[in-house]
């Protein structure tokens, strides 16, 4: 990995990562502050089963259920996947389309080392957002009267980070293989959204329930970290996928022509 390339890639993405982390902290502070006042009434909502599954159970009557739905099932994965995917595509295919990559690769650095540095920078972005989620949830839960252990909050943040690694690595592999920012971003985002929908709806139809195993989201949220702690199997699958996709990205960019 190239340390200068890592630093510059992270520097370019740092404002967005920090903003996202601060935003997630703010949302969780709001959830924690609102829960004591509205938890009882919202908890009585009758949410359809499919929608409830998409929302991580849709249990708004407990602080654990509310954080699982709001943060664990929606804001957390949405924000972390969005920044990982857009960041991975911008730092590789985006720089290629903008013709910066051609100049950088005229310097003594191999393409795989450059891609590895960019993957590490996206990994750091993911960790910043996961850390924001972790800190925000600790503060939000405390504000809401407690009820989720530090270990379980840490487990969610860890699994969220692994989900971000996998989403970012998928985008990186697509961007490195094609050199095209928009298609790579679109396909990676589509896979992430489809995975979220499959994980929510497939188990409702017995014959299609197996589809959930094809979803990144299942390995992130299939076992609830806020009540069951870290899912080592899911973490290993996500980290393994992230590593595999990163290696694919490094190999594919080495073999092809730069487009611009």
């Amino acid at each position: 990995m190239s340390w200068p390339a890592f630093k510059i890639a992270l520097r370019l993405r740092l404002p967005a990562a920090v903003s996202a982390a601060v935003g997630l902290i703010a949302v969780q502070l709001a959830v924690g502050a609102l829960f004591p006042a509205v938890g009882d009434s919202i908890g009585k909502l009758n949410i359809p089963k499919g929608v409830a599954r998409l929302l991580g159970g849709g249990d708004y009557g407990t602080i654990t259920g509310w954080f699982r739905s709001e943060i664990g099932s929606i804001y957390g994965p949405l924000v972390i996947a969005a920044l990982a995917i857009t960041g991975a595509c911008a730092t590789t295919a985006g720089e290629e389309e903008d013709r910066v990559l051609g100049l950088v690769l005229a310097h003594p650095i191999t393409r795989p080392r450059l891609v590895a540095a960019k993957a590490a920078a996206i990994g750091a972005v993911v960790l910043i957002i996961a850390a924001g989620t972790w800190a925000g949830m600790i503060l939000g839960v405390a504000l809401g009267g407690g009820g989720i252990s530090l270990g379980h909050i840490s487990a969610l943040a860890l699994q969220l980070a692994c989900y971000g690694f996998a989403a970012g690595a998928l985008a990186l592999a697509l961007a490195a293989a094609t050199g095209r920012r928009s298609p790579a971003t679109g396909v990676a985002a589509g896979v992430a959204i489809l995975g979220w929908l499959i994980n929510g709806f497939a188990p409702l139809v017995g014959a299609l329930a197996w589809l959930k195993y094809l979803s990144f989201f299942y390995y992130y949220a299939g076992h609830d970290p806020l009540t069951q702690g870290a899912d080592i199997g899911g973490i290993l699958v996500l980290v393994g996928l992230a590593l595999l996709l990163t290696v694919l990205a490094m190999a594919s960019v080495e073999r092809r022509d730069l487009l611009a």
Partner: protein, 300 residues
């Protein structure tokens, strides 16, 4: 043992289909020379440079830079050369200084005295984000990054694009110094005056194929020439049309301008049939060389 050529290509090709690309380029650039690479847009100049830099891979053929194969010794090559891409792009949100720092770090550092002298020479603005800089000021940064590690070989794609005349002078002086130090410059251009002033030899590329490689002097010798002939009384252009070597004739009152290639004998003899007041030759420049090699009827 003599030093290997700075650049040597053998049937180097990149076929993009539909006749686009580079075809069977055989070229040798000697160490220490400033070599011009001429051709209009789309002729294959940038493709050649991107092949040499390893940014794209050849369809067939091979190339060596400083005795090293471009395919499997690309990293060692890139340590020893500086590159300015055509249509240069840098990180737009970052300042010129941060961009240069980054590129220097990728090389493991550069001598700050060399870098600072280049910054001073080009009067470069390093404090503003690149997106706020004019094309010329961005090009200055591109030149600084290409020269700041004192490479043995410089590959420069349209280096004076956007530079004002004063900076162009500084750049030409720098090329002279680099050449005097025995370093090699391979530069492309469609600005013929630039190439004429600074290069030892030039190659002309047309539709992806090499047309000619020669010294400026030899190319001038075969260039289209012009004679402006002033007569005592008006003479018609038709008297010169069709003469051996004549390609164009313009008549304006008592003055006839004849463009021709090769010997002036037929033109002078035709003029001698009238009272001639003056004959004014115009020295051939590379524009004339260029036109000669690009005339559509001329076979490649």
């Amino acid at each position: 043992m003599s030093a290997p050529p700075a650049i040597a290509t053998s049937r180097l090709s990149k076929d993009y289909g539909s006749g686009r690309g580079l075809f069977e380029l055989d070229l040798e650039v000697r160490q220490g020379e400033v070599f011009g690479f001429l051709g209009p847009n789309g002729a294959g100049k940038s493709t050649t440079m991107r092949l040499l830099m390893g940014l794209i891979k050849p369809t067939s053929g091979s190339a060596q830079i400083l005795g090293l194969e471009i395919g499997n010794e690309s990293l060692a090559i890139r340590r020893r050369l500086g590159f300015l891409p055509g249509d240069l792009a840098l990180y737009p949100k970052l300042t010129g200084r941060v961009n240069l720092d980054y590129l220097a770090e990728l090389r493991g550092g550069v001598d700050p005295r060399v870098r600072d002298s280049l910054i001073e020479r080009f009067d470069a603005d390093l404090g503003r984000p690149v997106r706020e800089l004019s094309t010329g000021n961005r090009q200055k940064l591109g030149l600084i990054q290409a020269f700041m590690h004192e490479p043995e070989l410089l590959i420069l794609d349209e280096p004076i694009a956007g530079l004002d005349p004063l900076v162009q002078q500084s750049f030409h002086a720098l090329l002279g110094e680099v050449s005097a130090q025995g370093r090699t410059v391979f530069l492309s251009s469609h600005t013929l005056s630039e190439v004429e002033r600074v290069t030892h030899r030039v190659a002309i590329l047309r539709r992806g194929r090499l047309v000619v490689v020669d010294s400026i002097e030899n190319l001038r010798a075969v260039a289209l020439q012009h004679l402006e002939i002033e007569f005592d009384e008006p003479v018609g252009a038709q008297e010169f049309r069709g003469l051996h070597g004549v390609t164009d004739v313009k008549a304006d009152g008592r003055t006839v301008t004849v463009t021709f290639e090769g010997s002036a004998d037929a033109v002078v003899k035709a003029a001698a049939a009238h009272q001639v007041r003056a004959i004014r030759p115009r020295e051939a420049d590379l524009e004339d060389v260029f036109l000669r090699y690009y005339r559509p009827e001329r076979p490649v």
